[in-house]
């Protein structure tokens, strides 16, 4: 400071009494001014906006700098978290799609392999063979025709017929997958019931060829809902191995 403020109230020679009233008035005015300033200043300090308005430029620049840096940090954090979120959502979605596809494939394969019971519309075909005239070739023809007509699951008597089910034996002593099966042969097939029935009844088709055998008779019925059980034994593979990819 260039000038030390004058210490107020230093000794003074006594002054005429006439100025005392004026003196009191000026003191009162000064003190009132102080009160006024105090009240004003106290009100200025209230509220963030007013507080900012009362800050000096340097402080304002510093405050602005701080806030900008903080804002930048937070923005970076937001971007980082958004990226993480997107990645997580993406990987979850991919995993879900993969799992769904895998489940569908598994179900398809299980139906094909006959390891799960299935149900649906289809036909019930009963071949009576009192004279033992029906050979494995006839049943193979039936199976073939059914598959050709779109049958998705087939059961002969209580045996699920799948890709690996072989039909063999002599007429009257038929074997399916090594198990003897006895007449009457009850064949269930899941598929379009009417389509399957039509395919069986086609002239020169299954029905005709079975009934050409002595004593054999076919009865055929389309059902709205039938159930086919599981293969008794899960197939095992001794020779076939998945192809090694990329080697």
């Amino acid at each position: 400071m260039t000038e030390t403020p004058t210490p107020p109230g230093r000794p003074q020679p006594s002054r005429p009494a006439r100025s005392r009233v004026a003196g009191h008035a000026t003191i009162a005015a000064a003190v009132a001014l102080l009160g006024f300033l105090l009240a004003t200043q106290l009100q200025v300090r209230q509220g963030l906006g007013q507080r900012l308005a009362s800050e000096r430029e340097v402080d304002l620049v510093r405050i602005l700098g701080d806030l900008s840096a903080r804002s930048d940090d937070l923005l970076e954090e937001i971007v980082g978290l958004r990226l993480q979120l997107a990645e997580a959502a993406g990987s979850t979605e991919r995993a879900e799609v993969l799992a769904r596809t895998a489940r569908q494939e598994l179900t398809t394969l299980e139906i094909l392999l006959g390891t799960i019971p299935v149900e649906g519309p289809g036909i019930r075909l009963v071949i009576t063979d009192p004279q033992g005239a029906v050979g494995p070739d006839v049943l193979l023809d039936v199976l073939q025709e059914l598959r050709d007509a779109g049958a998705e699951a087939v059961q002969i008597n209580d045996l699920r017929a799948v890709a690996s089910t072989a039909l063999s034996g002599q007429p009257g002593h038929l074997l399916a997958a090594g198990q003897p099966i006895l007449a009457p042969y009850v064949i269930l097939a899941i598929g379009g019931g009417d389509t399957l029935a039509e395919a069986m009844r086609i002239p020169g088709g299954v029905v005709d060829s079975v009934e050409s055998r002595p004593g054999a008779h076919v009865s055929l019925r389309a059902l709205g809902r039938l159930r086919i059980g599981v293969l008794r034994r899960t197939p095992t593979f001794s020779y076939a191995r998945p192809e090694q990819r990329g080697s």
Binding site: P8, A32, L33, L34, F36, A39, E57
Partner: protein, 109 residues
């Protein structure tokens, strides 16, 4: 008594009017308040020491307030940004000294 009444009147006026302080002036108002407080306590002390003179009181009150504010303002213009601290320290020390003197006279301790 007169002093207390006029102080109350001043505060009342400030609250009722609640004048908007223009932003360029706002940083310097606290300096003026500090200087005014210093003058008031100085005057109180002088009065208790029976050396009070109203002319000096009024002049120092006005000039100290104005000078303090002007000085800080000049410091900001010159790039001396923390001159307000000098004002706060100078007047703060004087206010405490005056208060100590008043306390000694009031409580004789």
């Amino acid at each position: 008594m007169l002093i207390l009444v006029s102080l109350a009147v001043g505060i009342g006026l400030g609250i009722v009017l609640s004048p908007a302080v223009p932003p360029p002036v706002a940083p310097y108002l606290p300096m003026a308040v500090m200087a005014a407080l210093d003058s008031v306590f100085g005057g109180l002390r002088a009065r208790m020491e029976r050396t009070f003179d109203e002319r000096i009181f009024v002049v120092s009150f006005l000039s100290n307030s104005t000078l303090a504010a002007l000085l800080v303002w000049a410091g900001d213009r010159l790039g001396v940004n923390d001159l307000s601290i000098a004002v706060v320290v100078a007047f703060g020390v004087r206010i405490f000294q005056n208060l100590a003197a008043i306390r000694r006279m009031v409580f004789r301790a």
